[in-house]
């Protein structure tokens, strides 16, 4: 059903790498491959989940969609415009409709600014608003995120973590963006305010028709609020597609391991915990073949030889694993 719609953001074979400082002079220049050959589509109005463990390139990928991170190869489209082909001025204009919410609400607000100054900063940078207009907009936005307009002249230190995150959301939404990157927006908050912030985000999405890129390592949250999800491991796409399909039928062993780590409140329900062995390999010398090699509980000989391609196994459900065909063959036979 999504196929007929035009994607808001489209990534085509995007790769990003960072140079590593040399240990010795005259050494061959080495690179950390943060994102390798990622293609994805984010449709307008949806919440797109980005899941993976720390350091797997989630934030780098999010930065590339915002056009802050330069890519080595590949193309990024935002509403049919190619971000990767834009000059600085065009990028600046395109970024007006993109915003970001940060993980840590404590470092994302300047402690020297009042709430009014923080939220009106985007307006001031863009320019063309009078002080009265800005005060009115900021006041409305504060009410929108569940604070009162009277909080305008207070400082961030007067607020709790959840309230600070609300201020961060207000700053992100003041320019009415179409696309919002939420970089683990609740993981730094108390568990008791998780639901409040998530509900606020969902309400705002309904109201303003914003598209979210939701980065998280909490699968329970992803299952609740996302419509599509991309599971990343070590800079590569492992599994990608509709949330319900992936959660109902996780095919990739890495996704299965992540699923089994979801904390279950149902004590009687005992599920098998898939435990991964080993460590994340060095990003400078990734293993040959599938990136998950060496940690995969269902490894095959083939996995060490080549990269598994990303295949569509059902509508809007893509998997990059050699095992998939074999599993099907086994069940058939």
């Amino acid at each position: 059903m999504r196929k007929n719609e035009k994607p808001l953001i489209k990534l085509e074979n995007v790769s990003v790498s960072f140079p590593v400082k040399n240990d010795f002079p005259f050494q061959k220049k080495r690179y950390v491959r943060a994102v390798t050959d990622v293609s994805m589509e984010i449709y307008p109005g949806e919440t797109f989940g980005l899941v993976g463990e720390s350091g797997c390139g989630k934030s780098t990928l999010a930065n590339t969609t915002l056009g802050i991170q330069k890519v080595d190869s590949g193309k990024i489209f935002f509403e049919d415009q190619e971000l990767t082909a834009m000059d600085k001025k065009q990028l600046k204009a395109a970024r007006r409709s993109m915003q970001m919410i940060f993980q840590d609400p404590f470092s994302s607000l300047n402690p020297r600014f009042s709430v009014y100054e923080i939220i009106s900063e985007p307006l001031r940078i863009v320019g063309g608003y009078t002080r009265e207009q800005m005060r009115e907009l900021v006041g409305n936005m504060l009410q929108e995120v569940g604070l009162s307009a009277g909080d305008m002249d207070r400082f961030p230190s007067d607020f709790s973590g959840g309230q600070k995150q609300r201020i961060g959301i207000a700053r992100a939404l003041i320019l009415k963006p179409k696309y919002l990157v939420c970089d683990e927006p609740v993981s730094a908050l108390d568990v008791s305010v998780h639901a409040q912030i998530l509900n606020l985000l969902m309400d705002l999405q309904d109201k303003y028709h914003i598209t979210y890129l939701f980065i998280s390592h909490n699968l329970a949250v992803v299952k609740r609020i996302c419509s599509r999800v991309l599971v990343m491991y070590f800079g590569k796409v492992m599994e990608y597609g509709d949330v319900d399909k992936i959660f109902a039928n996780p095919v990739h062993p890495y996704t299965q391991a992540l699923m089994s780590a979801i904390f279950d409140t149902d004590i009687d329900h005992k599920h098998e915990r898939v435990r991964l062995k080993g460590e994340v390999p060095s990003p400078i010398n990734p293993p040959i073949g599938c990136r998950f090699c060496g940690r995969c509980p269902q490894e095959l000989d083939r996995c060490k030889e080549g990269d598994p391609p990303l295949l569509e196994i059902e509508e809007d459900h893509y998997v990059a694993c050699f095992r998939h065909g074999i599993v099907e063959a086994e069940t058939d036979g």
Partner: protein
Amino acid sequence: MKTIQGQDQEFATKILSVLKKIGITCLRILEGIWSFIKKLWKHKQGRVGLIIVALLVFCAVFAPIIAPYNPYDVTQRAEKGLSPSWDHLLGTSITTGQDIFSMLIYGARSSLSIGLITGLVIAVLGSLLGIAAGYIGGWVDTIIMRIVDILLVIPTLPLVIVMTNVLGTSYAVIVLVFAAFGWTGLARVIRSQVMLIKNANYVKAAELIGASKWYIMWRHILPAVSNLLIMSTALTSAGIMVAEAGLSFLGLGNPEAVSWGKMLADAQSSGAMLFGHWWSILAPGIGIFLAVFSFMRIGLAMEEILNPRMRKGSSMVKVFKHLNNKYLEEVFASMDDGSKLKGEYATCSINETPEGREMLACGEYAPSEEVAVTANGEESKRKEDDESA
């Protein structure tokens, strides 16, 4: 005609808006200074420093009104080497016969102005280069930091002596030379601070919207380092005042100006001590002391306000209060009673407070004496027991 008028109007509104912006920034700076003074006033040491600085500034600004004579005026010179009297409160100098009290007041002008101007130049240079190095990074950072490394290992005062010999001894040269070698430490401190702020998410948020580098430096980074700047300006100004006095004393100051260092040099060279004219040495000495002392007070008070770890009443005061209130009373009481006193109590009570633990770790407080007392007490008790047995 109309179009020209329109252009003129546009131009006028543009100029007006620029003027408005400048006015707003000036107001903001004044506001910052005022809030800074208020903070200092609450701090005991800062208040002392502020009062003395205010006094000195008053003397410097209104010197012609306060001073009974004008030391620059040759006709107002009296007999050489007079002792203190009602006409000449601190006597007159041995070499020229200028009134020492007037020279003292006029001397505040040169000392304060050199200290403050050099301090300001250093603050501007250090903050600009520090922010550039920290925020822009890359080869800019490398070049600036290598220059800092080179300048830091050059001993300043001998070099300043050589430079004043070559370039002459005007105020401009002294200010420039001190500033050229004084900005390095400040630039380093500011660079490290900037590198912290640069990675904060609020800077990233502003960059995302398309804020320019200038905007981020001006609105986010400069305010964050402003307190640090004020503090270091006060401290470097004090240092420069001493250095300037030293230069003048060596005969390398501005020969035309009246300054405290030059007064000292004249007194020394004319043998004031030999004639017993101690006032002609003490007066400029007190002047230098007051100026440096007050600036140091302000700088140190600022450091304490900024650095919560150094806030007053942290370690020493609290531990002593604790000891006074609980521990010592019990010690004395138990000693009077002659009853037992647990040896552990000393270490126990001091270990309970984090400050106490810090002190124990630093070795500032050694409970050995108390323990010895208790050990003796227990020993004597035991002896008594033995005797009774």
